[in-house]
Amino acid sequence: MLEIDDLSVRLPRTARPAIDRISLTVAENETVGLVGESGSGKSLTARAVLGLLPKGARTSGEIRMDGADVLSMSPAGLRRHRTHAAAMIYQDPRAAISPFRRIGDFLAEILREEMGARAARARAVELLGMVGLPEPERHVRQHPHELSGGMLQRVVIAAALAGEPRLLLADEPTTALDVTTQAEIIRLLRELRARTRTGMLFITHDLELAAMICDRVYVMYAGRVMETGPTRQLFAKPRHPYTEGLLSATPRVSDLGTLPPPIPGRPPDLLSAPPGCPFAPRCPHAMDSCTAAAPLLVDGVACVKAEP
């Protein structure tokens, strides 16, 4: 359904590509995780899929949605694409919805042009029911400040579902929420997937969260995919030193009283272009050859020391 093929994105005034030759697929009814720290290029990847790259970005490679090339779509084609093909669930619902508009108007606007005002209004009520809000008829007349963060995030999800998209892009959809609300939203996303067979690209910095909901995971670092595979396998037997480091650096409730071992150093910014493998300066296993050339992703892992 979604195919990203050897995509690179270079932003103006930067030393290295923000996205560096990544390839990725999402199939129907599949939830795929894109996991990485800040600056890994994960959010930019989502923006690229929506055709929302910043001005001056230079791209190579291809993004295909059901065969259609996203990077060469017309503005009208992109509008359709963002409603019916790939819709985004944003991180902070209070930033995504205008505080001055009623919930119903916010939702109906997405579809008014296509189905007329009356039908769009009815659809808004239906959508709010779909995302589990208790009183859809009342909520359409409410303003954002009358709803809690969790309820508003349901509205954002309803907006993404409005055009019955084939793919949902969820960019840290629960990061701004409380833990208990996060658990509810994850439950909702799972239910929706079972009901609608929508594919989902789930972007997060939180490996544990990815493991909860994703069938497969791509681990990104400095714009590159370092490792990919079925979630269970990736967690049980990480093959890239970065994946391994990230997993052990994550604090867990089950590891009471022990400090997680950190990865030394920090992720590279866009203004420096370390030669070879971008993780080499922080890697406990780095050899001379690691800084000579960046290893390609072979058999799901981009590391010369990885075992098959």
Binding site: V179, D206, T231, P251, R252, L256, G257, P261
Partner: protein
């Protein structure tokens, strides 16, 4: 056992809304207490009351045995310091890291030479000479948090309040800062009040924890007991909500 921070019957209302409702706890000298809760639980208002940024409607706070209400601003700052989630908001953007530390030292220890102490603080939080001469905006999130910690430690406070201090950091960097904080506590005479929503962080850096909900402490005790055998229904809900792999 000596108590660095003794809080009794602390309450704060805003109109009809009670943000902090009869909150009490002890923080032992050299101890680490987690104050856990979701948004609206009152944990941040509690921190603001402890720092004297807000005035409580009722209750007492003793820092190192001295009533907070009787202390002047400077004395209070010498006893209790805070590190926020995003230090960019609390660091002067026009001062280098070095200057920023020197400023605190000049204010609290006037007339004393502070070059050696500045170097010592930078060393303690793992910052080199290059970072010392940098402006806050030229540093990464983790480095800025190190600066904020160094600034807070400069006055040798008894209590350090960490308000979601590692929440905005990348996992790999967060582990570095948690390690640094643990090191500092082992080395020196400082106790921590860790304010956070993250139970996993609480589990690795605190010895006691208090769970807050709607302004009240619903459960408190040794961290290991609360996280493995929670007694309150809400603590159980929080623990059940922590993401864990589906397999």
């Amino acid at each position: 056992m000596n108590i660095d921070l003794e809080v009794r019957g602390l309450s704060k209302r805003y109109g009809a809304f009670t943000a902090v409702d009869d909150v009490g706890f002890d923080l032992a000298t050299g101890g680490s207490l987690g104050l856990v809760g979701e948004s609206g639980s009152g944990k941040t208002t509690t921190a603001r009351l402890l720092l004297g940024l807000e005035r409580p409607d009722a209750g007492t706070v003793l820092v190192a045995g001295r009533p907070l209400a009787s202390l002047g601003r400077k004395d209070r700052a010498r006893l209790i310091q805070i590190v926020f989630q995003d230090p960019l908001g609390s660091l002067d953007p026009r001062l280098t890291v070095e200057e920023s530390l020197a400023e605190v030292l000049r204010l609290h220890f006037p007339g004393e030479p502070h070059a050696a102490r500045t170097a010592e603080l930078l060393e303690q939080v793992g910052l080199g000479p290059r970072e010392a001469r940098a402006m806050p905006r030229e540093l990464s999130g983790g480095q800025r948090q190190r600066v904020a910690i160094a600034r807070a430690l400069a006055v040798r406070p008894k209590v350090l309040v960490l308000d979601e201090a590692v929440a905005a950091l990348d996992v790999s960097v967060q582990a570095q800062i948690l390690g640094l904080l643990a090191e500092i506590r082992t080395a020196g005479d400082v106790s921590y009040l860790f304010i956070t929503h993250d139970l996993a962080v609480v589990g690795c850096v605190t010895d006691h924890v208090a769970v807050m909900r709607r302004g009240r402490i619903v459960e408190s005790g040794p961290t290991a007991r609360v996280l493995t055998a929670p007694e309150h229904e809400y603590t159980r809900l929080l623990l059940d909500s922590v993401p864990r792999p589906a397999f």
